[in-house]
């Protein structure tokens, strides 16, 4: 097992949503090419994009006099289209398993079964305690060391089923 990258765990949800949205809009600006970066930032800071965030962001972004026209539906359309944006509340930790062919062939087939069994979850589910959300993800571009699994921002490579219990124990 090799831990490729380590980053601070998902930032606290206690942060003020309004402030997060304001900071994001300020940082990226209010033109159309900033919509996705803004949503990414909200998702990163808050963990997911609640309806309230979309309402707040739309208010700040919709500027007819600047020819920037945007509706809440449009922003929701973005949030639900892109896989890195979540519209539902997730568990405290998000486990993402790479489902693409290279990982599959290099031992991912067995690992995926083991992950579901260890966490007692299927793809897209969150456990009742709100500890883990299990998701599948398309290729993460580190296939040379597959199978690959992400827990929050920590990447684990060359994972074998035997290592899962130790990895998950690190996340409360």
């Amino acid at each position: 097992m090799l831990q490729v990258a380590q980053a601070p765990h998902q930032a606290g949800r206690e942060k003020d949503l309004k402030q997060i949205v304001e900071t994001a809009v300020e940082k990226h600006g209010a033109q159309a090419d900033a919509f996705i970066p803004i949503l990414l930032e909200i998702n990163r800071e808050y963990g997911y994009i609640p309806a309230e965030a979309i309402r707040l962001a739309r208010k700040m972004l919709h500027q007819p006099e600047e020819h920037v026209l945007v509706s809440e539906g449009q922003l929701y359309g973005l949030a639900s289209f892109y896989h890195m944006l979540h519209t539902e509340k997730t568990g405290r930790h998000v486990v993402q398993f790479c489902e693409s062919a290279p990982c599959h062939v290099q031992g991912g087939r067995e690992l995926w079964k083991a992950i579901q069994k260890t966490l007692h979850l299927k793809a897209g589910e969150t456990d009742p305690e709100g500890r883990f959300t299990l998701k599948t993800v398309s290729c993460l571009g580190v296939c040379g060391v597959g199978p690959v699994m992400l827990v929050d921002d920590d990447m684990y490579a060359n994972v074998t089923p035997g290592q899962l219990a130790d990895i998950f124990a690190k996340y409360e």
């Binding site: 359309g77 290279p102 087939r109």
Partner: protein
């Protein structure tokens, strides 16, 4: 398969056998044993590789030397000269003849060893990617300085002469694309770098972006000068956080050095760049979906034509190139088209980055001249199959590539030959599978990917991927019917003909290739109720506990 320094292949098609190929093969075995080379030199028979004028043909790797016609009495000389002393037995070489595109490449190789040739990755790992000084010390920004002194038409003419083809998968001639954009009349044009590398198994662009970010900035600036653009975007996939940080830092440094921004290098040419992050959507690698995404919309591909060269970002003429393609530009400008043409094959010059993955001993990125064969990749760069299991199939070019059987492993990998063989080179991912993998299981994995990533805009792809996935899964559970295979072929064809973009058009390829090369294996699931590789569960969903 164990790792050997040389490989001897003896042709074994009916014609060769008639002309004594069996005796040649046997003699090779005896002679290698006699000289004690049998441990380090492997010997194999191959089928027809498309050349019939010099049979029996003997090919020796890694030099890719072709001898022919070889008779039993020539064998001793070849073994002694070539394999024992390391000299090519010139007088026995097969005549150089381009009988078919598939063997023409041997001429350009001239018996040279297919050593790794680094052009686009030459600085990766050798310089500090966060230091512009390091980059400049290694020929950095010299091509830009040279380009600014050239006529604009001269620049795209050089690329056309060099024969550079797009490395994102489609292989469109780069110089021609530049010429199209340069020819449009518009006060505002854009240059976009497609760094939304999400083809499963591909990470060549990430290696370039993380290891040599300035090379992309330099290439885009040259492109902007050539086509007359003043603004550019690098669209990096959201998962590549490190690449984004490195690029942003590199852009700041370039601005500081007067290599980006107003009046670059004291000329009256101005150009600036933004890094734009993707948010996780495979379809955004399609160029029009990518543009939609920059414009703050869902990444749904546009109908084409009009093409981005005339109506691109915000409706303006836009040049879109892949990372690896762009990384080829500065060296071509600096060293000229002739130099570039000295690598690769006549129809596909230059090098190509491949990512070797799957059941081989070495996995990773290599950059080699175009025209290398899969057999060389597996045995030389991949250092043989893991645990010695036989090679069964390879999946090339990420999900949208082809599944190719072991019988095609001697086809040189360049755009032209692969097109003739009906397979796709794609993004350069090579997933090598041994016989413990089930082709149906692989097809399901690929179809799951397409079904997950289909943007849902057009019906053939949205419904087709879903239906195909359900049907394939049913077969893997022992619930398939033979007529399902006909339906699957029909779905694959409908998706290819009727889908709006490349995603849907290639989604049927795994089905097509599976049925073309491995039909018997799939039929075994249906007729006999067994998975020959022992991978599929073969239990109906309802009966699962």
């Amino acid at each position: 398969m164990k790792f050997s320094r040389s490989m001897v292949l003896v042709s074994n098609d009916p014609d060769s056998v008639r002309l004594g190929a069996q005796e040649v093969y046997r003699r090779f075995g005896e002679k290698l044993l006699e000289l004690g080379l049998n441990e380090e030199v492997s010997l194999a028979q191959i089928t027809d590789i498309g050349r019939h004028d010099a049979l029996p043909l003997v090919i020796i790797y890694p030099e890719a030397t072709a001898y022919g016609p070889v008779s039993v009495k020539d064998v001793d000389r070849i073994v002694e000269e070539h394999l024992y002393k390391g000299r090519i037995a010139e007088e026995l070489l097969a005549p150089v003849k381009e009988l078919s595109g598939r063997i023409g490449w041997l001429k350009t190789r001239k018996g040279a060893s297919p050593m790794e040739k680094k052009i686009v990755t030459r600085r990766v790992g050798r310089i500090d990617p966060e230091s512009i000084e390091d980059y400049i010390a290694e020929e950095g920004y010299q091509a830009l300085a040279k380009a600014l002194g050239m006529e604009r038409t001269e620049i795209h003419a050089t690329l056309e002469k060099a024969g550079l083809q797009g490395r994102g998968g489609a292989g469109f001639p780069t110089g021609m694309k530049w010429r199209f954009v340069a020819g449009t009349k518009s006060p505002k044009k854009y240059v976009v770098c497609n760094a939304d590398e999400s083809e499963p198994g591909t990470f060549k662009d990430r290696i370039i972006l993380e290891g040599d970010p300035h090379s992309i900035i330099e290439a885009m600036t040259i492109a902007a000068y050539c086509v007359g653009a003043d603004e550019g975007y690098i669209y990096v996939r959201g998962e590549y956080q490190l690449a984004q940080r490195r690029l942003e830092k590199a852009i700041l440094q370039a601005r500081e050095f007067g290599l980006l921004g107003k009046n670059i290098l004291g000329s009256n040419f101005s150009f600036d760049l933004h890094v734009h992050s993707g948010a996780g959507a495979y379809v955004c690698g399609e160029e029009t979906a990518l543009l939609e995404s920059i414009e703050g919309k869902r990444g749904e591909p546009r109908a084409r034509p009009p093409y981005p060269t005339t109506h691109g970002l915000w409706g303006k003429p836009t040049l879109i190139n892949n990372v690896e393609t762009l990384a080829n530009v500065p060296p071509i400008i600096l060293n000229g088209a002739e130099w570039y043409r000295s690598f690769g094959t006549p129809s596909s010059p230059g090098t190509k980055c491949y990512t070797i993955l799957g059941n081989v001993n070495f996995r990773g990125l290599i950059e080699v001249p175009m025209g290398i064969t899969l057999r060389e990749i597996i045995n030389i760069y991949g250092q043989g199959m893991r645990n010695g299991a036989p090679f069964k199939m390879a999946q090339t070019g990420g999900s949208s590539g082809s599944i190719i059987p072991a019988s095609l492993q001697d086809t040189p990998m360049d755009f032209e030959s692969f097109r003739k063989a009906g397979v796709s080179l794609g993004s350069g991912a090579l997933l090598i599978c041994d016989e413990n993998n089930c082709v149906l299981d692989l097809a399901i994995t690929l179809m799951k990917f397409f079904q997950f990533e289909s943007c849902g805009k057009c019906t053939p792809c949205r419904v087709g991927t879903e239906r195909a996935l359900r049907m394939l899964t049913a077969i893997s559970r022992g619930e398939g019917k033979l007529e399902d295979l006909d339906t699957l072929s029909a779905i694959a064809q409908e998706m290819e003909y009727a889908s709006n973009c490349g995603l849907g058009q290639t989604a049927g390829v795994p089905i097509r290739d599976t049925l073309k090369y491995f039909r018997a294996e799939v039929e075994a699931h249906i007729r006999l109720g067994v998975c020959p590789a022992g991978v599929c569960e073969m239990t109906p969903e309802a009966e699962k506990v």
